[in-house]
Amino acid sequence: MTKRAIIIDDERLARNELKKLLMDYPEVEIVAEAANASEGLEKVESLQPDLIFLDIQMPGKTGFDMLSELDRSPHVIFTTAYDEYALKAFEVNALDYLLKPVEPKRLADALHKLDQVEEKESLAGITPTVNRGTLGEADQVFVKDGERCWFVKLSDIRLFESVGNYAKVFFGPNKPLILKSLNALEERLDDKVFFRANRKHIVNLRMIEKVEPYFNGGLLLEIRGGDKIEVSRRQAVKFKEMMSL
């Protein structure tokens, strides 16, 4: 399976070096290069690559900043020369990274690991959405909260909660904030999976464990992890409609 890749690094020589190393992998096709984060953002959004090689320290915005601005993150292999903070983030979150100058063996391992991930995804019958408009369950987003960061599959997110201009994302034991409004999220999320329960919450329908009637013709949803979310009367009608199908 060919992978369309973009290399994002502010140094021309570093990009060249990586391209040279990637010549041994004909299945990786470099579709573009970018010399900084904003250029990278533009190219990732217009070309929708399967994979990006991303430098962390770049002029203007860092690689992490760039990722958190993307709606949907492709697979990412970070590249860095030496950066204590980034390395810590990588190790804590088991993100894949290459240290420059890149060792060919490490590059082979990283690409192999990626193959396995993709294989598992296709076996499970989930493929990243082709339709660019909405975000499907298999899509992943990059979430950064202070020094910690994650790649999260949308299917692992059980709840979005509105906090002012931010949204709190609930997955596993984590609840980081992202700079996106709930309305903007609702527009992008697949409405077969994510349901706007009330003004403050969007829930993942597959994570609902119990549904109870509530005051005023509303409903009370208990989602995995024990959080209880109220469904407003208007939305309850919609919810019942969807569930009865």
């Binding site: 020589l13 570093a14 900084n36 320290q57 002029p59 020369a81």
Partner: protein, 347 residues
């Protein structure tokens, strides 16, 4: 016998001699003569005194009474003093009786003499103890001061070393990566880059051994360093030097200018999408040697939040020149940050 033990014995001998002389003096003062019997008794008193204080010292050391908090040690010493002075007196009196050295003039009965002599001896023992403790107290204070001084010196030394040898690993690995790319693209430049990188590494290692180096040496490293950074940043980095030839042999702390230039690149040029410039100036103004590094960019945050480079530069200048040297960093006109070191001129 170590020197501490030797000192102890000198104190013992000296102390008891003074005591014996005092006794002789008072005896002469009251009796107008010194009997042979008195001399014998004095001799045995001193001998026993030395033996029993020696026992007292052994007890103090054995039970670690020197380290014990004062409120715990005082009752123990009090009891021990009374006990030992009692045994001391008994042995002293029995010896005097046995050898028939007693003064026939004394009419007091045995019990009262025992009590009075014990009291006397306990006063001497107390004085002995006070001297013993005072000596140890001053010795300890002294030792602590020496230790603190030594520790400070070690810390300073270590600080200087770590400050000096600080070359950013991020820079080294990036440079190596660029060189690897250049091996095919421009082998000549790659060879030159390897020489430049070696110079920097060698100098940063040697810097540990030296207090100061001539500015010319330091400038050579900076030139190599900037050449490597230009290889990485290409047209995004512009470099300018403005060096007064008279300053070339002025002594400067090694790797200090280098640290400032590294900072200028890291916080100035590398943060800007279109890159920027670094300018290095060295001249003599008002009989002071000024070294200036300017770079495009803006100081971010307050001065309290200094980076390692700035803090360490300030600390190093302080350690080496006290208030004869100055360091400041500030925004000057239109998007330029200036760092300035002022050093005393070496004639």
């Amino acid at each position: 016998m170590n020197s501490r033990n030797k000192r102890y014995w000198w104190c013992q001998i000296g102390g008891w001699s003074v005591w014996a002389l005092t006794m002789l003096f008072f005896s002469y003062l009251f009796e107008r003569e010194v009997s042979v019997l008195f001399l014998y008794r004095l001799f045995f008193a001193v001998l026993l005194g030395v033996v029993f204080t020696q026992i007292l010292r052994a007890i103090i050391i054995r039970f670690n009474w020197l380290q014990m908090p004062i409120e715990k040690v005082i009752p123990r010493l009090l009891i021990m003093t009374l006990l030992i002075s009692f045994i001391y007196t008994i042995s002293q009196m029995s010896l005097v009786e046995a050898l028939n050295l007693s003064d026939k003039k004394v009419t007091l009965n045995f019990g009262r003499r025992l009590l009075l002599n014990s009291l006397d001896n306990s006063i001497f023992l107390t004085v002995w103890l006070l001297i013993y403790y005072a000596y140890h107290y001053f010795e300890r204070v002294n030792r602590q001061q020496v230790d603190t001084h030594r520790l400070n010196a070690v810390v300073k030394d270590l600080e200087l070393k770590t400050i000096k040898s600080h070359i950013n690993p991020h820079f080294i690995f990036n440079a190596l990566n660029s060189i690897r790319a250049l091996v095919d693209e421009n082998p000549e430049r790659a060879r030159k880059a390897i020489t430049e990188l070696s110079n920097i590494l060698r100098n940063s290692m040697q810097a540990e051994k030296m207090e100061t180096v001539p500015l010319e040496n330091e400038l050579n490293i900076v030139r190599d360093y900037l050449a490597l950074e230009q290889m990485r940043f290409e047209e995004r980095l512009k470099v300018d030097f403005e060096i007064d030839d008279d300053t070339l042999d002025q002594p400067v702390p090694p790797m200090m200018l280098q640290t400032l230039v590294e900072n200028a690149i890291k916080h100035g040029v590398s943060k800007q999408v279109d890159g920027g410039m670094v300018k290095i100036i060295s001249d003599i103004t008002n009989n002071q040697h000024e070294i200036i590094v300017q770079n495009s960019g803006r100081m971010n945050g307050s001065l309290h939040n200094k980076g390692f480079g700035i803090q360490s530069t300030q600390d190093r200048l302080n350690l080496m020149f006290g208030d004869k040297a100055k360091f400041e960093i500030k925004d000057i006109a239109n998007n330029i940050v200036e760092a300035k070191i002022t050093l005393p001129v070496d004639e």
